[in-house]
Each structure stands twice: as C-alpha cells, then as structure tokens.
Point group: C2
C-alpha cells in the first residue's frame, strides 16, 4: 500500500497525443498521486478522441499555475528540439529525446531554459536512452574491467520496415530485430566474444507484395540492401495484408544489457538487465510518468535546470516515503 | 577512458579482513581514482597476510585526516551494529548491513552518528540488499500494477550447509540454493504464478559422510529437516572430502529480480535483472567500492548523515564526469 506523502496530487499535462501520449494518459491512471489536467495537440482539439481534456497547443501558456509538469510526447527529430527548451521555460518537463549523438547539445538547451525560468526538467528518459543507459552505467561502475553488450529486440524497427516498403511491388512490411540467441548465450556464459551489430541481431521481415510481383526479386532486393540488411542474417516471409494487420500491428520490443566482468584474480561476474515489452510506447510512457514524479520532487526542493536519469536517485521515482522504501524494498 | 575529475585520489580504509575485505582490497586496484591506505583488523596485524598496510583496529582513530572513507567489511550479526555508528563518528563509511528487518533501526543509528559528526555514510549496499533492492524499487515505480519475484542462486547457503553439518555422521557439506527453472520460465512468460519460496527454489546438497555411516539415514534426516529442507525439492549427493574441496569450495551466487506488470488495456511488460557471480564476496566488494565513490562525492558536497542505495543517483557511482556520462552512456 502506498502512503501518499502529499495531499496534493501532481498535476500533469501531456504535449503530443500519438502512441506515446496515449500511453502516458493510461499510465497516469495507474498512479494515485497524479492527475491528468489536459492534453495539448497541434491538431484541432475537437478532432481528437481522448478520455481527457484536449486543448490546442497554442493555449498551453494559459495553464501556467494549473499544471505542475508537462510530459513531452513529441518526436525527437523535429518536435523536441523546439518544444523541449520552449516548454521548459513555462513548466517542469519530462521527455524521451532519443537521438544519442545530440543529447549533450539538447541537454544544454533545456538546462539553460529551465534554469533561467526556475523550472526542473528531465530529458532523454524511457528505456533506451533511460533504463538501459542506467544499467550500462551501473555495470561499468561496479565491474570496471569487463565488456558491455546491448541487444535489441524482439521488436519492430520502423526504419527497416520503411526501407522494405520503398521497394517496388511491396505494399506493406514489418521488420523485427531479433537478438541472436547464440550470441546472447556466448555472452551469458562469460566467453567475452567480440560481436558486431550483425553478429548480435537477426532480421525477420513480413512483407505484403502486390499481386503478380516476382517474390524472389523482392526477397533478393531486401537481403542485399546495403546498411539495412546486406550484412545481417535476414529472413523474408510473404504474407497477406490481412495477416499482417492481424498479427503484426502490435508494438512489442525489448532487449538486453549485459556486462561480463572480472574481479579478483579471475572471477567472472555477469550482470544482466532485460525487458520484454508487449507495448513499447506504453512502457516508455510508464517510465516517463515515474520520472515526472522524480523531477517534480526535485522542483519542490528548489532545483532548477535539467537532469538525466543518471542524476536521479531511484527513491525519487516512487510515491512511497524514504522510510517506507527502506522498510519494504531494501 | 576515464577522465579523472580530481587530482586527489579517494583515500580508502578497510575494516575487517575476511572474504569481503579481501574482495575490497582487490576491487580498489581496479579503480584508478582510489588508493587503499590501510586495513584494520581485530587480529594481531603481524599475523595477517595482505598486500597492504595492516593495523590493529585500536589504531583507527590515528587515521583521521589520512583516510577519507572506511569500507566496513564486518558481519551484520554483531560487528556492524557496533562498528557502523562508531566509525561513522570518525570517517565517512560504506557497509553491507544485510539484516533486512533491522535496516530501519540501523539506518537511524548510523544516520544520527554521521550527522552529529559531519560525516556521510551509505548503509546496506551490495547486491541484496543493494542492486536487487534498486531493481525492485525501479520496477515497482515503472509498473505499479504487477507482481515481483526474487529468485536466489545458484549459490551456497551457509545456513543450510551448517544445518547439514550438524547431522550425526556428517563430516562436511555444501548446500546450493537453485532457482526452479520451471518457475522462472512461468514468470518470464507473463503467467503471473503465485509462488512460495519452495516453489521457486531447489536445494542441492553435497555431503561428506564419515565412513561406515548409513547414508540413507543421513539423506532422510536432511530431506525431512523442518524449515530448512522438508518443504523443498532436495537432492542429496554423497561425495569424498577431496571432491568437496576441489569442486565446492568456491563462492558462486546470483539470482533474479523479475517484475511482471501490465500497462494500458492489457499489455504485459516484463523487467528482469539478473546476476551470475563466480565470487559472491568479490562482487559485493565491487559494489561497496562504487558506493564509496558516491558517498565521498556527497560528503564533498557537504552532506552529513546516512543514505541507502535508494538515495544515490547512478552518476555518483562512476569516476566519469556528468558530461562524459551523458555523451558516452546515455
């Protein structure tokens, strides 16, 4: 049972209402210390079907004082670089900015805006970046002498699915990235293999071809596509449009972070963190909501600026008090 | 590559030189930002064989100003309840106090002593309590609707090994606790089983009997022993003293923390954290050393009092700067 610390619920807003935003809306309902005040969208609010108040993004400023924290659910390519710093000037924020190479630059922009306006923001959380990053850090700090391995999947890669769809004669396609079990088992057994991305992953494709197309030509074009498939073990399955819709329109994902290290004279030590997710966006949303709680607590303590998951103690993620956590979960 | 932040190494002392203390001594050598100043023991220092300076525990006070942080490697039954609060009055400390039910009380004692004397202490770290606790907290915060499962092993249980050794006619014994693979797989597949400790674990015993003893009597006494074995699937193997020494004198351990949760309408989400350790004390030691770095940083920031792993951001565990971590590991 959660002894709720504060009588006031954390008032949350959602910016962007795609898969991730819908996941956040549902995740907030699982957290008794939070309430969803409004969803902000660039679309016409009347056209958006949600179980909550929906407002046009242009009205966001009028919610200053009514919403504590905004969970930013836009994309990392163009939405967040603009929205992140801007909204951090008005509210505390959480986001899942996931362009690894751009994180330092994005951090500085959000940090400057939040700091200048007395707000607190956590950027780039979710599961990768996010929980996977935390486990990479932890394992490296505990086992400085060792090797780290990240495997992704089984999960849909939008980029690879799109690449198949661009092939002539393909009507639709879904591509799953799948960890190579042999590679995973080599790491788990402490063999410390040297593995490239292609050694670690298989690619499984489900393709709907237009009628009359030469399937072997399509299969060959997929398997020889440079960068995307040529270097990987790739499996191609042709199926009907109905079967694709029925069996492959979910968004599972997951993966593993492993570190194989050595202590003492020669003791092999293996740390493994894994996720098996039926819904990638709903899980990412659940992580964002827990970090919303954390950054709200930092804000109440007077912190202004940006943080990442690396800067946040796990105790801040929970609605339970520090005393309760020590008693129940340590 | 680690860009060492400070020119001064963290000066570490070790209190207690059993398996854990020796593990800490070796772990410090893997961390370039630390140096071991001295080991403190209750034995006669001349009789202790170590690769470092060894001092009698009565000299510890003379090291104030020469050592930043003491890593306490005594036992939780009688050593730490006395040493923890006492040494926290002189130095920053780290310990692995592992009596779960006593943690709140122990926390308060160390916290009061450290606070009064301007020191910083982290208690009850290692892997359980420690990394397992962190994963229980994280998974519960991210997936509030779900079930948590902890499995221990494969690893030696000293308590169960001792219980076998007390049986008449037994010369020596080692007992391994082993997770039940069927139970683990049920959890991994999202079946949310209701499992007792006996459902989750098997017990494998290696026993050296005195010559001429009735082995079936010993086996029966083991398998029917209340609390320890009667409720478990127990396997008994009689082996020679030589084989026990050769094959079963290591200290492997490990385990799994799993959470099976639900998001959205009905999406099953599984979070798993696992350890496979060739040396339990060396791994615990490696965790203690990483937390020594973290609490030293809190001390430099002016914090006084006690913390647990729940209160410490992972970034503090690493010798890398926050900037480097964001760039390399997020």
């Amino acid at each position: 049972m959660v002894e709720v610390i504060s009588l006031h619920k954390i008032r949350v807003g959602i910016v962007g209402y795609g898969n991730l935003g819908r996941g956040v809306e549902m995740a907030i309902r699982q957290n008794v210390d939070m309430e969803l005040i409004a969803i902000f969208t660039r679309r016409q609010p009347e056209g958006v079907s949600a179980n909550s108040e929906v407002r046009h993004i242009s009205e966001i400023e009028s919610y200053i004082g009514k919403i504590d924290i905004m969970i930013l659910c836009g994309g990392s390519a163009t939405d967040l670089p603009e929205q992140g710093p801007h909204i951090a000037s008005m509210f505390h924020t959480v986001d899942s900015f996931d362009r690894h190479a751009k994180i330092p630059e994005y951090f500085d922009l959000v940090d400057a805006s939040a700091r200048r306006n007395g707000h607190a923001s956590v950027i780039s959380t979710g599961w990768d970046p996010g929980l996977f990053s935390l486990n990479r850090l932890l394992a490296e700090a505990v086992l400085p002498e060792g090797n780290e391995y990240t495997f992704w999947g089984k999960g849909v890669s939008q980029g690879h699915s799109d690449a198949i769809r661009r092939i002539q004669g393909v009507q639709n396609a879904v591509q799953y990235t799948i960890p190579n079990e042999d590679a995973v088992n080599m790491v788990r057994s402490g063999k410390d293999p040297v593995l490239s991305a292609r050694d670690k992953h298989l690619r499984e494709c489900f393709v709907v071809a237009a009628s009359g197309e030469d399937l072997s030509r399509i299969e060959n074009e997929i398997k020889t596509m440079p960068d995307y498939f040529a270097d990987y073990e790739t499996q191609v399955n042709f199926i009907s449009a109905e079967e694709l819709l029925e069996k492959h329109s979910f968004m599972p994902h997951g993966g593993l972070v492993l570190r194989s290290g050595k202590t003492g004279v020669n003791s092999k030590q293996i740390i493994e963190f894994g996720l098996k997710l039926a819904s990638n966006p709903e899980f990412t949303a659940s992580v964002l909501v827990a970090y919303a709680r954390a950054i709200h607590r930092f804000a109440k303590e007077g912190f202004a600026g940006a943080k990442t998951a690396f800067d946040i103690p796990f105790g801040y993620l929970s609605p339970k008090s520090d005393e309760q956590l020590r008693k129940e979960l340590l």
